[in-house]
Amino acid sequence: MELKGKKLIELISLINSKQLSATEVFNYFLKRSNKYNKQLNAYLTICDNQTGIPIAFKDNFLTRNIRTTAASRVLEHYIPPYNATVVEKLLNKGFSVLGKTNMDAWAHGSSTETSDFGSSKNPWDITRSPGGSSGGASSVVASYLCPVSIGSETAGSIRQPSAWSGVVGLKPTYGRVSRYGVIAMGSSLDSPGVIALSVEDCAYILSIIAGKDKYDATSLTEDVPNYSESIKKNKKYVIGISEEYLKDIEPDIKKNYFKAIEIFKKMGHKIKKIKLIDPSYSVSVYTIIQRAEVSSNLSRYDGLRFGNNRSSFSEEAKKRIILGTFTLTQGYVDEYYKKAQKIRTLIINNFKQAFNNIDLILAPTTPNTALKLGEFQKYSFFGELMDRLNEPSSIAGLPGISIPVGLDKTKLPIGIQIIGKKLDEESVMNLAYQFEKETNFFGIIKELFKKYPD
């Protein structure tokens, strides 16, 4: 049976109807992963001899007895004694870990170039970055080395690599999915999420991983809807668009974004102009809050109980820790850290106000398509600039999804994002699902699969 290109839910349906065993599916993807990983460097660890439905985890999710490094030399040999809650929930549903995916070290970056184990490559053009920090996770899905992967987003780290790799990336509401056992970066921002080939696959996985976890005090208590069912209700939405998100955006991205707006209109949705705070302020707020939280979170890596000592941190982590220490230093804490938290309140209120008149927001996911590897070194804070269209909604803790909307003139994928109200993943995915049904995402991913035969 031809498996290539089948979505996760199609594979599961074949397993459930006994046309295939989960082991056969696992071995199919294992073979592909072993074949192409040298070229893409998308996995840091590949696991064999498993019998469940294959799934890949970004290497900042703790996996019991499977090496977990966060792509840093500090944790080069670390073997976790327990599973992250997300991992545990998926294993209980019949999944097996196919691999641990490459990422920016500690999730610090937007290109995987800060990984201590070499960057991942973009399957569309291996001289380019797949995006980051969940770049390995987007790369394995785009090249069909795994049907689905779990990533994490602090601000952009799921949506941006999904856009650059031409796949679907869902960042849930902060607190919707447990952070227990996820190596912390910015604790008030980190959100585990899904990278997949279709919106339905994202809905299926979110239904499993979402929900209150008593081991994560910040996880939200609201009931988890059946996302797989709710996305199929054909609802009409009022969609907000904001001029502020179109500054310094590549022309091809703008063109495809406007093309998508026309498609949504034709489908019967209403488009409404809204005013949002300029994302350049969110870049600053995010940089300050995230650095402060990084400085605090990475203080636990002292090499005493596990891992190597602090001399194993690379320059990017040192830079972030030091800036975080600076913004938390007496004399600067009010001026930077507290001020940033106050502007965060304004950003949240700005979204709340906008959502009084609209259901969802539509914007480009990224200002540019995939950059050449090596570009990040030219910037003092590359990640924050690449993720500037994701940072406002992440700071506010809102859910968002990036979906493919065609290719630019150099044949690189373009993504647009749908942002929703807090805990309204249902509408976010509902609209994305309607767009997928209408356009099949312009068939771009099938084109890419041709480059990676079995």
């Binding site: 040999h77 670390y78 073997i79 004694p81 327990y82 902060y174 607190g175 008030s188 008593k214 081991y215 005090a217 910040t218 939200l220 208590t221 350049s280 302020y281 870049v283 600053s284 707020v285 940089t287 300050i288 400085s295 203080s299 002292d302 005493l304 109980r305 596990f306 891992g307 602090r310 001399s311 941190f313 320059e315 040192k318 830079k319 820790i321 030091i322 800036l323 220490t325 600076f326 230093t329 004399g331 600067y332 001026e335 930077y336 507290k338 001020k339 940033a340 938290q341 106050k342 502007i343 965060r344 309140t345 304004l346 949240i348 003092s380 804070f381 506010a396 803790g397 807090k422």
Partner: protein, 100 residues
């Protein structure tokens, strides 16, 4: 009100020492430029008036989350599991440098 800020070598080494980090000469050179550029950018927050705004430290709006009394921790680790990744240990103790 606004303090002038210079990330010179001395200040950078001081911040690194607070962070328990050591820096190479090359890192010092690179970080001074990068940190100065970053701080210059993030100073744009001063354009926003926040005098009457309260800070938001977390977006979850949750308060006082505790384990229920008597609830069992089903995910606690055995001593063997806890010490599995430690290189410096003795009879179920972690060995550290002298602290006091």
């Amino acid at each position: 009100m606004k303090k002038s800020l210079k990330f010179d070598k001395k200040y950078l080494i001081y911040l690194a020492s607070l962070s328990l980090l050591t820096l190479t000469e090359q890192e010092i050179k690179s970080l001074i430029t990068k940190l100065e550029e970053t701080v210059k950018y993030i100073d744009n927050i001063n354009a926003i008036q926040t005098d009457s705004t309260s800070p938001t430290y977390q977006t979850g709006d949750l308060r006082n989350i505790f384990f229920k009394d008597g609830e069992k921790n089903q995910r606690k680790l055995s001593q063997d599991e806890v010490f599995k990744n430690s290189r410096n240990k003795s009879n179920n103790y972690f060995i550290t440098k002298k602290i006091i």
